[in-house]
């Protein structure tokens, strides 16, 4: 009885997990790109598919996209210009 219940729960969990799993890696909605700019410079951003980030080349900052929601808070952005740490983090991400 208990096992059956657990199995059902696990099934629900893995089902939910699958749905959520895809949403974790959810890319940016293409329609958003025509609106979004960097909140600091108000200049257009480049969407980097590999890291799933929105990049401001001029200022050297990258805004993450989490669960398909772009995080456009400058405090949450990653700086891309500092070469050594940026390369290190890129390698570890790949």
């Amino acid at each position: 009885m208990l096992r059956g219940g657990t199995a059902a729960l696990l099934r629900a969990a893995s089902g939910g997990g699958h749905g959520q799993g895809t949403s974790l890696a959810q890319p940016l909605e293409p329609s958003l790109l025509r609106f979004l700019v960097c909140p600091l410079s108000k200049r257009p951003l480049r969407y980097e598919e590999a890291t799933n980030e929105l990049i401001n080349e001029e200022l050297g900052i990258a805004y993450p996209i989490i669960d398909g929601i772009p995080n456009m808070i400058p405090e949450a952005a990653r700086t891309t210009q500092k070469k050594p740490p940026a390369e290190g983090s890129k390698e570890s991400e790949q």
Partner: protein, 302 residues
């Protein structure tokens, strides 16, 4: 966010992510090894958050907040093709109403079109239905922007449950520093959000910037009651009843006390109107609802 209680939201006992992720594993230790465990629990958490959130808003306003939001969208009267930016709208309350409204307008348009051409061939009729299906919003889009991650997650979750997918996107951003390009939106709405913005003048300037020329600014917010009798009744309810409700339902007296006080400190109708004009808007006016318990301010970028 509806009443803009970001602070309250994170402090409700039993539904913060940390506390809930512990309890179910204690109940179902088998789950620890199961993959997707965290995800399963997370979904559970947000469902309970969303439920609590609606219960709280309904009980505080006796459900009237729904009517206020309906009135806001009716005032907007969006036509198919309208691009809306809804700021501080994390839970989707305005976005879903907007989508419903545009859909029904679109439907009526198509029906009228059919009525005008009584002797259409079956092919033409079939085509018109296909057109309807492929784009029930007529290219309308709503972008929801909120500074609170949890609220956005609740909204996205709700959207999935209610089946809203088309023409709806979510962005984490600050109203004072919007991540959107100039002259992009037809309408800007902020419902029960502007009161919690630190620099209202900056938020208004940003609203002006992102609106297209001809675009409309609409703000729904608690305001000030002028009728003295009603005002004292309202004060009684606000200071004696709401914190108690907050304590009973959300287990948080202080946040609800803060809510009530923030409403009293928010600029009254005429003052907010002047601030909106200072940001550059034209034809600024406001409409009091329920004798000024809330007000809808409107202005145009010309």
């Amino acid at each position: 966010m509806v009443f803009g209680l970001g602070r309250w939201f994170e402090t409700i006992p039993g539904i913060s992510v940390n506390s809930v992720s512990v309890t179910p594993t204690r109940l179902f230790p088998q789950l620890r090894k199961g993959y997707g465990k965290k995800l399963f629990l997370r979904r559970d958490v947000f469902e309970s958050v969303a439920k609590k959130y609606d219960v709280m808003n309904d009980s505080m306003t006796l459900g009237i907040h729904r009517v206020w939001k309906d009135i806001l969208v009716h005032k907007m009267n969006p036509s198919p093709g309208t691009l809306l930016l809804d700021v501080a709208g994390g839970t989707g309350d305005i976005a879903f109403r907007f989508i419903n409204y545009v859909r029904s307008v679109r439907e009526r348009q198509l029906q009228r079109k059919l009525r005008h051409h009584q002797n259409l061939s079956w092919q033409e009729i079939a085509e018109s239905y296909q057109e309807d299906k492929s784009n029930s919003l007529g290219d309308s889009q709503v972008v929801v922007c909120d500074i609170n991650k949890e609220m956005l997650k609740v909204g996205k979750q709700k959207a999935q449950h209610l089946g809203y997918t088309e023409g709806l996107s979510w962005v984490l951003g600050n109203a004072e520093e919007l991540p959107f390009d100039d002259d992009k939106f037809d309408v800007y709405t902020i419902a029960f959000g502007i009161r919690n913005v630190t620099r209202i003048d900056l938020a208004l300037q940003e609203a002006y910037r992102v609106l297209k020329p001809g675009g409309r600014f609409l703000c729904l917010e608690f305001s000030h009651v002028s009728n003295p009798l009603l005002s004292s009744l309202y004060d009684l309810y606000s200071f004696q009843v709401i914190p108690v409700l907050g304590e009973v339902i959300a287990g948080d007296w202080k946040s609800y006390q803060y809510l009530v006080e923030s409403i009293r400190h928010f600029p009254p109708q005429e003052e907010l109107k002047a601030m909106i004009e200072d940001a550059g808007f034209f034809k600024v006016d406001y409409q009091n609802l329920n004798s000024g318990i809330v007000a809808i301010h409107s202005g145009f970028k010309l």
